[in-house]
Structure formats: C-alpha cells, structure tokens
Symmetry: C2
Subunit: 461 residues, 2 copies
Amino acid sequence: QRRFSISPRWQIRTKEMNEDLLKSLKINQGRLMQDIHHTCQWGTGERWGDAPTETGMTRLALSDTDKEARDWFKSTTEALGCKTTVDSMGNIFAVRPGLRNDKPPTFVGSHLDTQPTGGRYDGILGVTAGVEMLKTLADNWIETEYPVGVVNWTNEEGARFPLSMVASGVWAGSIPQETAHNTREVYPGTATMLSELKRIGYLGETTASYESIPMAAHFELHIEQGPLLEMSNKKIGVVKGVQAYKWFTTTVKGRDTHTGTTDLKSRADALLVAAKMILHSHRLATANSALASTGILNLKPGSTNTVPGDVTFSLDIRAPQDSTVEKMKKLVVADFPKIAAGEDVLGSNDACTFGLPCSVSITEDFDSPATTFHPDCIDSVSKAANSVLGPNSHNLVMDMVSGAGHDSVYANKRCPTSMIFVPCREGVSHNPREFCKEEDCALGAQVLMQSVLRFDRMRDE
Amino acid sequence: QRRFSISPRWQIRTKEMNEDLLKSLKINQGRLMQDIHHTCQWGTGERWGDAPTETGMTRLALSDTDKEARDWFKSTTEALGCKTTVDSMGNIFAVRPGLRNDKPPTFVGSHLDTQPTGGRYDGILGVTAGVEMLKTLADNWIETEYPVGVVNWTNEEGARFPLSMVASGVWAGSIPQETAHNTREVYPGTATMLSELKRIGYLGETTASYESIPMAAHFELHIEQGPLLEMSNKKIGVVKGVQAYKWFTTTVKGRDTHTGTTDLKSRADALLVAAKMILHSHRLATANSALASTGILNLKPGSTNTVPGDVTFSLDIRAPQDSTVEKMKKLVVADFPKIAAGEDVLGSNDACTFGLPCSVSITEDFDSPATTFHPDCIDSVSKAANSVLGPNSHNLVMDMVSGAGHDSVYANKRCPTSMIFVPCREGVSHNPREFCKEEDCALGAQVLMQSVLRFDRMRDE
Ligand SMILES: NC(=O)NCCC(=O)O
Ligand SMILES: NC(=O)NCCC(=O)O
C-alpha cells in the first residue's frame, strides 16, 4: 500500500487524535466561502442584492456551466493528492488515500448542479465543504486510517432531468442505468442524460455501482432548506432520516376548440380540468397532512383563442410516512379520473359548467420511500456537533428529519449514512435568495470533517 | 381608364346581368377544392385520417410556410390580371379592374394564417373562394362596374402574435401600427411582427390604412366554427354581426420555494393561485352566460420540486353584449386580487390551505366590441343565398351572429361589410379535424361571388 504522498514528518493518524485534538482541528471559513463563491462564477443566476455574491444560481445538470464546475472539482481534488474516478453516470469520486487502502473510503458527498433559479448553497456547500476538509487534512498532515473521499453526484436536483438523486440511485442499484441514461431534459426536450454526459465529456468508463465504487460511509452537509433550525435558534441539525416522496406525471386530453364559438358545455377543456386537479391535490394534501406540488405544466397548442386539448403537469407528493404518500396516491388515482369525467369532486359549491369528458393518464415516475439513516453515522455527527458547539451545544443542536431528498437517501441503501443540516434564511431554498451565513457554513463544514474523522477512528471497532 | 385586359368579345357587364344570368354563373367546385388543398401543402399539420387531405394545418402568421402561401396568392391573382399591393402590415390586396376604376373596389377578404393546430378551412376557404371568384369572372368574361378585389389579411388568428385581426385593425385605424409591429410572438418570444414581416419580405411600402387602400365593401366567406348550422340542417348563415370579446394577460407572482421543505402555509404558490383564478373565471362565465377561456399558461422556473413563483396566463372573455363582457371584466379585476391575497372567493367548500399572499397584475391586451354588419351587404348576401339555394332556401338559410372574431369586424368600421357562414363538422374549429364538406365550400363560394356581383350592380343606386 502506498501511504499518503505528502511528507510524513508531521503526520497525525486519526486513531491518535484525542477529543482535544479533534476539537482544535479547524477548517478555514474564509477559504470555504471563497471556494463557494469561486465556483458560483459558473452559472451565476438572478441578482437579488448589491453585493457581488448576492445572486442566485442557474447551473442545470450536465450544462456547460456544470462541466466547468466539475472540471474545477476534479482538478482541485487532484491537486490535493486525490485520485478521481468518473463513473457511467458522471459521478466524480475523489479519493485521498489513508493508511489502509484495501478498504473502501469514507465519503463526503453532495452535488454541484442547481435548480433553474436556485441558490449558492443547495448542494454546493456540501461539495465545497468536502474539498475544504481535504485542504484542512492536508494542511495539518492528517493521515486517516482509511481513505476518505468526496463525491459530486450528477443531477441531484432532478430539475433538468426530472428524476431527483438519479445518479446516486443508479449507483445504489435502485434505478436502472438505462432509465437514467434515457431520461430526457424537461426543456426544451431534445437532450438525454446520456447525450449530455457524452457532450460534456463526463461519461466515465467505470460502471456506476456500489460494487465498483464501494463506500464505507456517506456523510452529507446541506442547508436545511426549511425554517425549523432558524425558527428555534439552532445551529446544527442532526438528520436522522428523510421523508417519503413520489413524483407523478398527469396528462389530460380534451379537444382543441375555438374559444369564441364553443359553448362551455361543448368543451373538453384540458386546462380547466388540470386546474381542478391541482386545486384538488392541495385539498387532499391539507386533509392528509401531506404536501402536494405542481412545478411543471405544459399545454398544447398554446394559443389565446384555442381551448387547450392537451395538458401535462407534474405532481410531487410528500409526507413523513410511506403510508401517507401511498394514501395520497390512491386518492389522486381515484379522483383525477372523476374530475376528468366531469364529476363534481370539488364539492357542490363549484358552480362551474361541466363540459365534455376528458381522458387522463397518471404515471408514477419516481419513488423515494421514507429513509432512516444509520445509527453509527448519526452518532458520529451528533458527537461532532456537540464537540464543535461546546458546552452550550444542547441548545444549538437539533435532531430532525429532512423534507427534501438528498443523495444520502440512496447512499444509505448501500453504506452507513447520515446528514448535517445548517440553517438557511427564512427556510427559503430553490430560490435565488437562498442564503446561509458564513459562520453557519463553517460550523457545518467543521461538523462534517469531524464526523468523518470520528467515523474513520471507529471503523475498526 | 384601362378596361379589363382580356379580350372583350364575350364581355358581360354585371349591370346587364339579370337574376337568371346571376344564378347560372357557377364557380368550379373541383377547382376550388384543388386550390384549398394545393395551398395546404405549405404548413401541413397533424394527420387525423388516411386520405391525403385528412390533416390539419400549422401555418403560423409570417412563418416560412405563410410566406409560401402568400407567394402563391400573389402570383395566382397577378396571373388572373390583378394588380397586387402589399401594405406595411403585410396585407396583400389583389385588385381586378372594373369599368370605373376611379372608385374603390368591392373586396372579398379573409386570411391564410392558421392556428398552431388548426384546420384547412378557417380563413383559407375565404381567400381561395375569392381566388375562385376571380377565375370564374375571367372564365365568363364578366366585367364588373367597379373593380373587385381579394385581400389576404395578416395574422388574423392572433395565435402567433397575440392580437387577433391585428392587420385589419391597423388598416381600420383602430390599432396603432407601432403596437402591431412591436407585438412579440407567443413562442419562443424572439421575433416581432415587424422583424418577421421584414424577414419574409412582406413589409410593403403602402401604409396600412383605409385611406391609402379604400374599400367599397368587404365580404367574407368563413366556416361557422360553431355547431348551429349543422345542428339545424342549414347550408348558409347570413351573418349579421359578431359578439364582443376582450383578451387579458394575468401575471401572478409568488415565491419560488422547495416543494419538500415548504409547508402549505408558508407557500406563495403562483400556480395554485392561477388554477383558482382559471376555475373562478369559468364560474363567472357560467353565472353570466359568457365565455371565459385560458389558452396560454407559462410558469417559472419549471422544475418538479420548485413551487412556481411566477405564472402568466391569457384570458379570453366573450359575450354577445358589450355590457356582459364589461361586467365580466369588472368581476375578474375585483376577484383575482382577492384570490391572490388568499380570500376564499371559491366558497367555503374550498378546503385548501391558504398560503402566503401572491401579487397579481391584469392587463387588457385586446378589445373587440360587439359588431353589427351593414344592411346593404347583409341584403346582398341574403339575396345571393336565396338565389343560390333556390325555392327551398327558406329552410336552408339562417341569420346568425358570429362567436369568433373576423377581419370583417375591422373592415366594417370603414366600409359596408358582412359575412357568409357555411357549416363545419360538429362545429369544431381550431383543431386539425376541422372539416367542411366540398359541396358546402362550393355553396359558400357561390354565395360569396353572387353577393359581390349584386353589390357591384347596386353601387350606383
Ligand atoms: N436537496 C434538494 O433540493 N434535493 C432535490 C430533491 C428533492 O426534490 O427533494
Ligand atoms: N375566425 C377565427 O378563428 N378568428 C380568430 C379570432 C378570434 O379569436 O375569434
């Protein structure tokens, strides 16, 4: 086994690090912020404030700007002594050798892709914090027992290619690679994941699989994307799991007709029917303490004076329990066809003329059952959070369940996994104004690094 | 004055034509159908049947295929001895000289542009029937008292550039030319009418105006686009007027947020609000015997897991009376902001969680008040219909009001105008399956020609 390649003179083994040493090992907040904002030159989005960094991000997966951010990730981690591997889903794994390289690395992972109008922290914080960990380990001549790695997962957002966490899903064996490769972009609909992986040069030769690239553990730092930490003045969320969600596509078919000559009774208005379905899905969500959201809606033919005959929309249903999501699905599948057939599902107060029936088809595109993270990883994060936040930590750390999906969901299927959350302003995410304080980014990165070192230390036990 | 240029040997003056002669002068049904389907090679749309002509049309205004259809119109009418003029809105006027060319021509007009998923008859029948009239007059050595013309109006549909009848509107002085020229295409939104007029070479030097191109009258043959003629087994509609309509654009602004981490109460979901508005507009239409239709809806950012913060949709409101359209407008303008603010305008049965308020803005883009056509033209059409349909005509002719707008609405502001309707299958229009029987197309063209000759004959009276 080749040992860590920098001079071994001041080398410290993680096994030899006591609590004081662990606590005193500090990531560099300024450098982390510099990396975050440096990488945000690729895909800079909408400006919302005057300061140079007060813009959102528009870095859709496998776009030209995503390629630039990837190139940065690859060259930066290689310069830090890592070996990088690109797999057949474009996932980039950067591995820093440890003392025993016969065993899989402990990974830190997240994603560099963003929403169409996303922010500077969602995903980006997790990857740059991983890079900052590598830099801090190098600065301090730390030698880990086992290799540690940082992974940039492809298309976590599911924004451009409408399957979230798809590349970690393929890695975990949960999503067939063919399905992923053939997934078509939402807009304009020409490219597939495969064609874009090829185009930007990130279709790797290593099979995307937990078998070809095994992991000992997966830790992910992320902004909360919700308001709970901020509202309760906490600094670190110890994430114990992720709520369940499913994505559906609903297509309503009516009949294109003239808006001026077709009376309300003679219409098969696919948009009116879709509007009723969207409203109804929110009523079902309200009644079942679930979430229902439509983020995409396309209609045809798209002319002011033609009643649309064809409407397709997305439906994202979430709830903490799988059974609630399943119940919501049953209700949607039962009620949407009734709405399309002209039944008054919205209640007798809906004094809207019912036209001719439309047809409806509903497909389930994506399913992510509720996730419970691994106790060992949760324990590492919990101890790290308490160590980093010190005596007052019981007031600053909070256990929580993630509302959003993350690549850790799929990682968790194949290795011990958990996550660290930091607060973001007003809980707003998937928005250019998404914001996380510098000190909170740094606290999160600090907890992330310490979690990895703690896990590395305990791997033999 | 130069007289009609073909050999005058068999020339008949319209003044000299008695009822029998008028009745015996026949357009050529086969030739008319050939012209219709010949021109439908440019912009052929969706196939719905097996026969060669069983397809719809996709010939958006000022597209490449519209240019080809225009070129055909120009060269065909010129070959028939007409002088053509293209005005600054791309309207093409083809004029066949009469005995007294010091007076404005009697025009036949309609349009060659179609909906994105339109049919082979809407507009096209009117223009090709005009051409067939020119051919029949030439075949029979008819010399009219005054010149007769055929006009192809630009962008009647308002589908690509969302102002219907815009080019006849400019000609009539009702729509400022600058407004028209600057109108941007609905999709993808790059081109304007002016840029496309230039690009396809149809920006004429003559000012689009009733003053530079005066008309003695305007007759238009059109498919009904509604079911009334077919339902009552009538063959010809004598159109006495057109109902009122207004077009609006509504923009709802909320906040982009994550679908998985934003509870229903913390959302400003612009699409949910828009869905409520669309539903409400239909309830208002039901309550007021009006029509309300949304044919275009665009949202941003368009990602499955982002609550849309920005939705824009069209609203087309129609009713026979101006006062009804005005009342509908007042209700929409009063209620949409309430819906955006979270008031339960849809009634207490709407058990949908109300989120944060959205903002809303509503602009009126287009206004076409109720139209009453000119008694002289109505009279010519009525007499022509009775002559063409013979002794049983009282069972086959029907007075009616148009549900759709037509260029005749604007023509009517500057010259005596009326229209002729023929039945179309199931009343369906703005749909690839739009269909009008060959014999009905021919009957309509026959009535159109005779209406023009009758009007020409009576102009001195
Ligand atoms: N973190 C995040 O925004 N992930 C996208 C997947 C999801 O929709 O929850
Ligand atoms: N005839 C026709 O479809 N015209 C379009 C204008 C309208 O919307 O009524």
